[in-house]
């Protein structure tokens, strides 16, 4: 069971700039699972699978040992430099689950499907490659990703990455329903599928019962340092699930009751145990993370009750202490470098098999209350206004405790600035007026130029492209709240452009708020953990990123159930219009009147004459047979009348007979 010497892989922080210290020599696979208790009695489970393969010119044709061939073909065919596809259901709760750790800024995704890709092709070909890619992915993952093909559903952000200028495409489908049909093809990319190893834990009911789950597929091609050619592909598959540990919850809790964190074990949250590793994996580990706030709280409790020896890091103390108890002693413990550090318990599941299953459990003994670290500003987005005509989108940013820390840290500087990047994509039927951008800082309106450092706008084009707004904002650090407000008009769609369920409203995809000054990364002392791809991912310096809510805009919708009525009314109106128009054009009233005057000049005015005629006629109507004296045409019409009358009578008679006797 000797594993081949592992290659040391260090990924770049930014998704798009793959700088590789050493090239990928051969295929490797690793599986990892991170468990983390969350402050609101839930638990985060984060599966991380990484497959890497070298690329050689013939690799397109040949079979891989571990690497999924479909993905390799995808990369080869569409010249993908980097790509990320995520399927998400539920919302990441930035407030309770945190927004300042690598997990949340890399794995918290907007609901539905999100796809971005960077292509290694000339700019004019990018769109064509993107369209083909969406179709391929759509088939591969049983999802309607092909709707991202239309140019009105994706866009090309400029400043998201300077390096990939022009070759990055980004699109989201907020309404895509995510289910097990998307998970199965995703699992098929793993060498052991869900038959062995950590992925065997993925019990579908437990996953889809969760509060949030997001499956992600991240592709990067790495370049060899020597020749700058593509040397390998790294496929990173993660599944992030937030679960409530005990399904049979004990009903409602009284407000005064002190809640103890629920105890859990792998078998209680997934209903399964780990039967051993996937034999193809280079490393398969399970990690349990206690975040900073929790560790601080635990230490405080320890200090308050017993004399706490901080030097004693014996495994027994770590496993069993006053507040909690772990069912299995960790193989290793990693502690973060900083003073307020998080703890990481590492378990290797190499030694477990069918007879000795791995079932990590955590039993809480003492109630602990802590909070997750938050992003510098808490972002939320909402719609204002009512009616079908116009409205406005407001993005509200509120400071959190982290902002205060940041000020304290940067107090030495004269003017501390907090940079916030906002990327907002708006479908074309929401006609945004970018000049109406309003910025209110601490509830006072300010000029836009006071805070906006850079602003990139590509206005939407009807039925062609969505509107894109990129903002680089610099706020003073002591900011309490900021509101960006921008107004829009609601557009009209053509009848066949309405999606099914048009009356639900239309989605505005999440805005992306990022804080480039802040990096969510964990720094661990131990160098040996760089073996683990997931931990190296956690240690990467990536900017803090958060997504806002998806918004639902009700637009005017035609009454789809009444096309017949609409057609009838329209036809009637047209017939009347054209009929009268033709009549007016064809007839010469002046000519007719002149003729009439010549013929019988002694007769009275037309109106009067007609009136008289009707007075007379109404008295005559009792005897329709009497021939009219005025003209031959009217006499001929009076000849027709009895026939008509007979016909009507006949029809009415048939109807009556039908109604009463034949039914």
């Amino acid at each position: 069971m000797a594993l081949p010497p592992t290659t040391i892989v260090t990924l770049s922080l930014l998704l798009l700039l793959p700088i590789l210290s050493s090239s990928i020599v051969e295929e490797a696979f690793s599986e990892e699972l991170l468990l983390k208790p969350l402050p609101d009695r839930k638990i985060l489970t984060h599966f991380h699978f990484q497959t890497e393969a070298p690329i050689s010119d013939d690799s397109f044709a040949r079979h891989h040992h571990l690497f999924p061939k479909s993905i390799a073909q995808l990369v080869k065919k569409f010249h993908i430099k980097a790509m990320e596809l995520s399927f998400t259901q539920g919302r990441w709760n930035y407030e309770r689950w945190g927004g300042f750790d690598p997990i949340s800024s890399q794995n918290a995704k907007p609901p539905g499907v999100e796809l971005w890709a960077v292509f290694d092709v000339p700019p004019h070909q990018v769109d064509a490659y993107w369209k083909n890619l969406t179709h391929s992915l759509s088939g591969l993952f049983c999802a309607s990703i092909n709707f991202l093909e239309s140019s009105s559903s994706y866009s090309a952000p400029k400043w998201a990455s300077q390096s990939a200028l022009g070759s990055l495409r980004y699109g989201t489908l907020p309404r895509e329903a995510v289910c097990t049909e998307n998970l199965t093809p995703w699992l098929k990319l793993l060498p052991c599928r869900d038959k062995a190893g950590l992925s065997a834990l993925m019990d579908r009911p437990s996953i889809y019962r969760s509060f949030y789950h997001s499956q992600r597929l991240h592709l990067t091609t790495s370049k060899a340092p020597a020749d700058g050619l593509d040397s390998g592909i790294i496929l990173e598959q993660t599944l992030t699930v937030v679960l409530q540990p005990n399904i049979q919850r004990a009903g409602i809790s009284y407000p005064d009751e002190i809640k103890i964190q629920p105890s859990w074990s792998l078998s209680s949250i997934f209903g399964r145990k780990i039967n051993g590793r996937c034999v193809l994996a280079k490393s398969s580990n399970v990690y349990l993370q206690f975040e900073r706030g929790l560790v601080t709280q635990l230490e405080n409790i320890q200090k308050n009750t017993v004399a706490y020896d901080s030097n004693d890091t014996g495994t027994e103390v770590l496993r069993r202490n006053l507040c909690f108890e772990l069912s299995i002693t960790p193989d290793r413990v990693h502690r973060e470098l900083e003073k307020s550090s998080s703890l990481l318990y590492e378990y290797s599941i190499k030694g477990y098999n069918d007879t000795e299953q791995f079932d990590l459990g955590l039993i809480w003994k003492y109630p602990v209350v802590w909070s997750s670290p938050h992003a510098p500003l808490y972002a939320s987005r909402f719609l204002t206004g009512s009616g079908n005509e116009r409205g406005s989108i407001a993005i509200s940013l509120k400071s959190t405790e982290l902002t205060k820390d940041f000020i304290a840290a940067n107090n030495v500087e004269e003017k501390c600035k907090l940079q916030v990047n906002v990327l907002q994509i708006v479908p074309w039927y929401i006609k945004v007026y970018y000049h109406t951008l309003q910025i209110l800082v601490d509830e006072k309106p300010h000029a836009v130029t006071d805070f906006v450092e850079k602003m990139g706008v590509s206005p939407s084009e009807d039925k062609v492209s969505p509107g894109l707004m990129e903002l680089v904002l610099r706020f003073p650090c002591e900011i309490k709240s900021a509101v960006l407000n921008i107004e829009f008009d609601k557009g009209f769609l053509h009848i066949d452009e309405y999606p099914p369920d048009a009356n639900q409203g239309f989605d505005i995809p999440s805005a992306i708020i990022s804080f480039p000054d802040f990096h969510a990364a964990l720094q661990f002392l131990n160098n040996s953990i760089s073996n683990s791809p997931m931990l190296s991912k956690l240690q990467e310096k990536s900017p803090v990123l958060s997504y806002t809510e998806v918004l639902l805009v009700p637009l005017t919708t035609p009454d789809f159930s009444m096309p017949y009525n609409v057609i009838t009314i329209t036809c009637t109106v047209f017939a009347l219009y054209f009929g009268s128009l033709l009549n007016v054009l064809r007839r010469r009233v002046g000519e007719e009147e002149r003729l009439l005057k010549n013929k019988d000049a002694n007769k009275a005015a037309i109106l009067r004459r007609i009136l008289d005629k009707f007075w007379g006629r109404s008295s005559e109507s009792t005897q329709p047979q009497q021939p009219s004296s005025s003209s031959s045409s009217s006499s001929s019409s009076s000849f027709i009348n009895p026939k008509l009358f007979l016909k009507v009578l006949l029809v009415a008679g048939i109807a009556v007979i039908w109604q009463y006797y034949l039914k």
């Binding site: 402050p39 609101d40 259901q89 539920g90 919302r91 709760n93 407030e95 609901p111 539905g112 969760s210 949030y212 919850r249 009903g251 409602i252 809790s253 009284y254 407000p255 009751e257 002190i258 809640k259 209350v369 909070s371 938050h374 939320s380 204002t384 206004g385 009512s386 009616g387 509120k398 209110l440 509830e443 309106p445 369920d501 048009a502 009356n503 639900q504 409203g505 989605d507 809510e549 998806v550 918004l551 639902l552 009700p554 919708t557 007719e592 009147e593 003729l595 009439l596 013929k599 005015a605 009067r608 009136l611 009707f614 109404s618 005025s630 003209s631 031959s632 045409s633 009217s634 009463y660």
Partner: protein, 701 residues
């Protein structure tokens, strides 16, 4: 072909539609009579023509799931009620405390009571952010508490709102019960897995009125004024840190974000109330659907409440009805006639089933009348009206228990009943994929399970107003005929004729201008301090008469009267013709804005418009018919005077006791505070038309 042309040229063919028009105009008197009478008859037939309601949207599936609300939730709700009524802590803190214990996100929303403002030009604009007087102290702040449950797997795009109004100064037993019902449902929803939409529970501080509290919260939700918020959130009112206190025990992260919280686009809203008095018969449920300007929520919302209430919970569902009509003899007789007619029809053909029993008819008519009345008033019948201003379907459900809530023994049972109903409705709305759009928005209810749709109730109105243009045209034709045979006359005569018509139009315009001035007068009267309604009303009346006189003299001055020579014989006729046309235009416009107002208005104004004829002529004629017409005119003219019409309508619908002069002022005041279009109608259409009719009655000819 040439011959044929020759024939047509000899006698220009008039098209049938024109012939028909001319026929109708020439017989305008009979046509008006027939139309008006058939209009009234059709109106009386409406309860018979009502259809049974049905759930139109398939996705709703009311009652398809078993209720999950158990006695467990109810006992918790009971504890909550006891805490709320017994403890001496501020009640909003208790509520917030309980909400946060359910893992809900809690926010306080502070608001100032809205002052009654008359916005003469804001009738149809969207609600603005409102004016707040600056010198209000902290103690007068109202505090709404809103708890939000996020749907576990939802995307948070939509929300369902539950509203329970309560008065923190004096929590009545009924209010406490309604809070208990909402709490039991809320506690259930915080644990269920099927939730697709977020649920907001708003406990509205009703010490300044239920409506204003809900409206203030909605304004903050839908149209926040970002920079005005500092008054409310200022630290002077030190309550603002209360939100920090409550979060401490559960999660410390609560102190992070104390701002106003939102949860997506609202799909529907339910206002839950419990009546303070028991009704001694059985548990029943009152539905109040009318929002401002006669807007109604989608019928499906009423349908699911009705369906669940009747079939699941065994409640008696009621819609408000005019109780004074129930005992009226003429209606009962009418019901009897219709019933016997129906029986005759059935004996002819068993498949004709249009007859309904007399009692059913009377009930239906009473409900229909109240439906018309409250829609016509244009004033929302509960806090749900605030939601309709933002296109959210909402109704108020008032549950009245068998016994008064104060001495209720089976409180748990009652909470379970109400809670299960609310749970069912929320579950149905939660199923909804799209917003409510399938069923009717324009309807009148004749019982909780019967409705008259727009296609049917338009008929009486159309019949009522149809004579107006016909009569106007005939009068116009008569007026032009009465001038000497002018078809072949000179150009001057023609211009004179058209000028005469314009003269009448000018007069009508001046009177309508007067109507506009009269409807603006209350704005200035409102500035007078310490005035009673009666004095206000008197001053208003005097000022209106005065302004009418001024306008009359101005318009009678020689500048306008270009040819005053002698009042022409047909002058009143052309004046009447123009009056009638404006009345027709006004009524038709109003029927688009608020149908019920137009319907009631047509009933009041159309007879006098049709009958108006100078009294002098009638007296000169001295025939019985003429005298009868004169008295009819006088009576109708008196009835159509707006205050009298108001008193009569109110008397007919609500009973006469305690009516005084000041009432009319109060009524008008309520109309403009609610931005009702009825006020505009009365001021700009009804009053001028009435004045013109009176003018015609006393025309010197």
């Amino acid at each position: 072909m040439a011959e044929n042309e020759n024939v047509t040229a000899k006698k220009p063919r008039v098209r049938p539609i024109v012939r028909l028009g001319i026929f109708l105009i020439s017989h305008s008197n009979y046509v008006s009579l027939i139309c008006f009478v058939s209009g009234i008859v059709a109106l009386l037939l409406l309860p018979i023509l009502a259809k049974n309601t049905y759930v139109s949207e398939n996705a709703l599936m009311p009652g398809s799931a078993n209720n999950m609300l158990s006695t467990h939730h109810v006992s918790h709700a009971n504890k909550f009620i006891n805490d709320l009524t017994d403890s001496d802590i501020e009640s909003h803190k208790i509520i917030a405390h309980y909400m946060s214990a359910l893992d809900a996100e809690v926010t306080y929303h502070k608001f100032y009571p809205q002052l009654n403002q008359f916005h003469p030009l804001h009738f149809f604009t969207s609600p603005d952010s409102g004016l707040v007087s600056k010198n209000i102290s902290c103690s007068s702040l109202g505090i709404n508490v809103a708890g939000i449950i996020r749907a576990p797997r939802g995307d948070g795009k939509e929300a369902i709102v539950l509203v329970t109004p309560y008065n923190p100064k004096k929590v009545g037993p009924g209010e406490a019960l309604s809070l208990g019902i909402a709490y039991s449902v809320f506690s259930l929803l915080s644990r269920v897995t099927w939730l697709a939409k977020d649920v907001i529970w708003l406990v509205a501080d009703s010490q300044y009125g239920e409506y204003s509290a809900v409206a203030a919260w909605l304004r903050e939700y839908q149209a926040p004024a970002f920079h005005e918020a500092d008054i409310v959130n200022s630290e002077i009112c030190n309550d603002s840190n209360a939100i920090n206190e409550l979060g401490q025990n559960a999660y410390s992260d609560r102190k992070l974000y104390g701002g106003f919280r939102r949860a997506g686009t609202m799909a529907a809203a339910l206002v839950i109330k419990v009546a303070e008095q028991g009704n001694h018969h059985e548990d029943s449920l009152n539905i109040y659907p009318e929002a401002s300007n006669g807007q109604m929520p989608n019928l499906d919302l009423i349908n699911i409440v009705n369906y669940l209430g009747v079939h699941k919970q065994g409640l008696r569902i009621k819609v408000t009805k005019m109780f004074s009509l129930l005992g009226s003899r003429w209606l009962n007789t009418l019901g009897g006639i219709f019933e016997s007619l129906g029986q005759i029809a059935r004996s002819l053909n068993p498949e004709w089933k249009f007859g309904i029993s007399a009692t059913e008819y009377v009930e239906g008519a009473a409900t229909l009348a109240s439906s018309l009345y409250y829609q016509g008033l244009g004033v929302p019948t509960g806090p749900h009206g605030a939601f309709r201003d933002y296109q959210v379907d909402a109704i108020t459900l008032e549950i009245s228990p068998k016994v008064s809530p104060t001495k209720m023994i089976r409180r748990n049972e009652f909470i379970l009943l109400g809670g299960r109903l609310i749970e069912g409705v929320i579950r149905s709305v939660n199923n909804l994929l799209e917003k409510f759009h399938q069923s009717f928005f324009l309807y009148l209810l004749t019982s909780s399970s019967k409705f008259v749709s727009v296609g049917v109730y338009m008929i009486p109105f159309a019949l009522l107003v149809a004579p107006l243009p016909i009569l106007a045209a005939s009068l116009h034709a008569d007026a032009s005929k009465s001038t000497p045979q002018s078809t072949s006359s000179t150009e001057v005569d023609v211009s004179h004729k058209s000028w005469k018509w314009l003269n009448a139009a000018r007069k009508v315009l001046v009177i309508h201008l007067w109507g506009a001035i009269v409807s603006l007068l209350p704005y200035f009267l409102y500035q007078i301090p310490n005035s009673t309604p009666t004095t206000n009303f008197t001053v208003w009346g005097i000022l209106s008469a005065f302004s009418l006189l001024i306008l009359y003299f101005i318009s009678a001055s020689p500048i306008f009267e270009a040819a005053p020579s002698q009042p022409e014989k047909g002058e009143w006729a052309s004046l009447k013709s123009v009056t009638i046309s404006t009345a027709f235009i006004g009524l038709s416009l109003m029927s688009v804005i608020n149908f019920a107002t137009a319907e009631i208005g047509a009933l009041l104004i159309v007879p006098i418009c049709l009958l108006a004829r100078p009294l002098k002529l009638d007296i000169r004629a001295r025939s019985l018919r003429a005298l009868l017409r004169a008295t009819c005119n006088l009576v109708l003219g008196f009835i159509a005077l707006p205050p009298v019409a108001y008193a009569l309508t109110k008397g007919a619908f609500e009973g006469f006791y305690g009516t005084n002069v000041g009432d009319y002022w109060n009524w008008v005041e309520s109309l403009w505070t609610w931005n009702s279009a009825t006020y505009l109608y009365v001021g700009i259409v009804h009053l001028p038309c009435w004045a013109l009719c009176i003018h015609i009655l006393f025309h010197p000819c």
